[in-house]
């Protein structure tokens, strides 16, 4: 069965303190690894798609990387507005393209 595990569950950073969020996945035939940001009570907001090991994507203070077993979301010099829950999800290549989500990392950036 496909599994996506995120760590840590929660992370508290000082403004400007860089860190990384981890996403470990076990998926039969990865057809996409996705990162989303979710604010309380809202739908997830798409950030990145990664398709193959070694791929990297960047957007402002965020950078996502992918290996054969893990993905990392690096946050450089975070600001308070980066506070949110970050979700990782993986799509398999079965006859039904199921997307499995992790439980998320709740990030709090303190001024």
């Amino acid at each position: 069965e496909d599994q996506v595990t995120q760590s840590p569950e929660a992370l508290r950073l000082q403004e400007g303190e860089s860190s990384s969020l981890n996403c470990s996945y076990t998926v039969s035939g990865l057809r996409g690894l996705f990162w989303y940001r979710q604010d309380p009570g809202k739908g997830p907001e798409f950030l990145f798609t990664l398709y193959s090991a070694g791929e990297e994507k960047e957007k402002e203070r965020l950078k996502a990387t992918l290996t054969k077993k893990e993905s990392f979301l690096h946050i450089t010099a975070p600001k308070p507005e980066d506070s949110a829950t970050y979700l990782c999800a993986a799509r398999n290549s079965g006859g039904y393209q199921k997307v499995t989500f992790g439980t998320g990392t709740k990030l709090q950036v303190i001024p």
């Binding site: 996506v4 057809r31 996409g32 996705f34 989303y36 009570g41 809202k42 739908g43 997830p44 907001e45 798409f46 798609t49 398709y51 979700l87 999800a89 799509r91 039904y96 393209q97 199921k98 997307v99 499995t100 989500f101 992790g102 439980t103 998320g104």
Partner: protein, 114 residues
């Protein structure tokens, strides 16, 4: 361009009732998926529809059903509601099944079952 829209925003039902949730995908997107998100958890996959056909089903009971219309909008129906069905129901659309296949989510429908 308008994003994914969902209606209603909030819904309160009692146990045993039936509910219908609606979703309109981003213009040009032919695939719609439904997810259930319980507080503190990641979204759980319920259904995927592509070109009006069911292409994926998660581990949910038969009380859950869905359909996709010719204009690619979709409905999720839940019968015989249980207290445990209280959750945020999310709809996501994507262009199709091949790359790029990222999904874009709507704001969700908050369902409360009393």
């Amino acid at each position: 361009d308008a994003g994914v829209t969902q209606s209603p925003t909030h819904l309160i039902k009692t146990r045993g009732q039936q509910v219908t949730l609606r979703c309109s995908p981003i213009s040009g997107h032919k695939s719609v998926s439904w997810y259930q998100q319980v507080l503190g958890q990641g979204p759980q996959f319920i259904f995927q529809y592509y070109e009006k056909e069911e292409r994926g089903r998660g581990n949910f009971p038969d009380r859950f059903s869905a359909r996709q219309f010719p204009n690619y909008s979709s409905e999720l129906n839940v019968n015989a509601l249980l207290l445990g069905d209280s959750a945020l129901y999310l709809c996501a659309s994507s262009l199709g099944l091949d790359r790029p296949n990222e999904q874009f989510f709507g704001p969700g429908t908050r369902l409360t079952v009393l």
